[in-house]
């Protein structure tokens, strides 16, 4: 696959897998407000995924559209980061994942909306306003849980601690990222890391929470080396197309 197609695929896979994960909360969240919020964020993610995967298919030029890429690839072909495939766990763990990812995505799209390649810039400009909402909402919940009861605080700390090890991968650069930057379609993710640290740190301080201890980043998602969790997610997401290939309605 062409580097730019892979670049688009990674962006699409991140959004798709997170959207699928978040949709698991639909009808199960602790209160109606957050149930609606998570479902709406999931919809935004699936919308982003549709745009990026359609672009990936077009760049690849093999006739695969967004649905084909979402429903007809196996687990090793997915290029999402490990963070988004992590199980929802309890509500605090979901919020921790959302908090880390939304702030990353918001910083990324802020830069990407200004890249030379109009196709990537257009999707980023469209999505950046939504990701600002996602980041704000997740941050408010980190504060609410961190600054809440002893129980909510302990769970928030556990959630943050678990998800922390997967955040290094968000900012890791490889030859695909370099090629994307050279082609005017990518962003220097490593340069976003200190900005992300500052934004995360400000919210954690307000929540009265200490940043998790440094952890060696867990990598592999971008080249298809996933945790066992992704296969289970995909078997659910792709069930219909696997049982009835090519089904439409």
């Amino acid at each position: 696959m062409h580097a730019l197609a892979t670049h688009a695929l990674r962006l699409g896979d991140d959004a798709l897998i997170l959207g699928q994960r978040l949709s698991e909360w639909c009808g199960h969240a602790p209160a109606l407000e957050i149930d609606l919020s998570l479902a709406n964020i999931a919809l935004d993610c699936v919308g982003q995924a549709t745009h990026f995967l359609a672009l990936a298919g077009a760049l690849e030029g093999q006739g695969r559209d967004a649905d084909r890429l979402a429903f007809h690839r196996d687990v090793m072909d997915f290029t999402n980061c490990l963070l988004v495939e992590q199980p929802n766990g309890d509500f605090a763990q979901t919020i921790a994942r959302q908090f880390f990812f939304a702030h990353y995505q918001h910083l990324l799209f802020e830069r990407m909306q200004a890249v030379q390649d109009e196709r990537f810039a257009a999707i980023a400009a469209k999505a950046v306003k939504e990701t600002a909402y996602h980041a704000k909402l997740a941050g408010e919940w980190v504060i609410r849980l961190g600054d809440g009861t002893e129980e909510s605080r302990a769970r928030m700390e556990r959630g943050l601690d678990w998800m922390w090890r997967f955040t290094g991968e968000l900012f890791a650069m490889d030859e695909i990222d370099s090629a994307a930057i050279d082609a005017g379609a990518g962003v220097d993710k490593a340069a976003l890391h200190p900005l992300w640290d500052a934004r995360i740190g400000a919210v954690l301080a307000e929540a009265g929470l200490a940043p998790p201890a440094p952890h060696r980043p867990v990598l592999g998602g971008r080249i298809g080396r996933h945790s066992e969790h992704l296969g289970h997610l995909i078997s659910d997401m792709q069930f219909l197309q696997r049982a009835y290939p090519g089904a439409t309605w």
């Binding site: 109606l32 407000e33 609606l36 919020s37 479902a39 709406n40 964020i41 999931a42 919809l43 935004d44 993610c45 699936v46 919308g47 982003q48 745009h51 109009e118 810039a121 257009a122 999707i123 400009a125 469209k126 999505a127 306003k129 939504e130 600002a132 909402y133 704000k136 909402l137």
Partner: protein
């Protein structure tokens, strides 16, 4: 759905409609989630040309995007305009500033507080107060940032005690 061929069977040959005619047809196509306003009122229609209509999605994840395109297609087809193409453009991204003044009034009459104009850019950091669409009071509070559809937040009026939807600044 009406296919491109069906209308030619009995009736008129392909014709190039006037832009005004197209605009009038589109003004009659309601938004599937808020039928009080048309796709023109919402600013979803970006350009109208003789053989081409360009539309833009409101929110990335708006499930109504496909329904909107199908409604426009059906309206054009039934007017004998199956040759008019519908294209989607993402850039520049839609914002609530594109909702017309007429659209804002229709939203208010329907019970949805319209987003303030010019607020789209600033809204994310400094949220403005919503005005109750029933009694006009500014004494209101947000109940839930995400409401019944992706474009709406749930608010409550503290003066008349009625809950209401607010079209989110975007």
């Amino acid at each position: 759905m009406v296919s491109a061929q069906t209308w030619t069977a009995g009736a008129s040959p392909a014709r190039a409609p006037a832009v005004q005619e197209l605009r009038a047809i589109l003004a009659g196509v309601p938004d599937p989630e808020i039928p009080a306003v048309s796709v023109i009122d919402l600013g979803i229609v970006r350009a109208i040309e003789a053989q081409r209509v360009v539309i833009t999605p409101t929110y990335t994840g708006c499930p109504a995007t496909l329904a909107i395109e199908q409604s426009i297609r059906a309206a054009l087809d039934s007017a004998g305009l199956a040759d008019v193409a519908i294209e989607t453009a993402l850039s520049p991204p839609w914002s609530t500033d594109w909702i017309s003044d007429e659209g804002r009034e229709k939203l208010r009459a329907y019970g949805i507080a319209p987003p303030p104009k010019g607020a789209a850019a600033a809204s994310l950091k400094n949220e403005t107060q919503a005005e109750c669409p029933r009694c006009g009071s500014q004494n209101t509070e947000e109940i839930s940032r995400f409401g019944s559809t992706p474009c709406k937040a749930l608010w409550r009026c503290l003066a008349c005690a009625e809950p209401f939807d607010r079209f989110k600044c975007h």
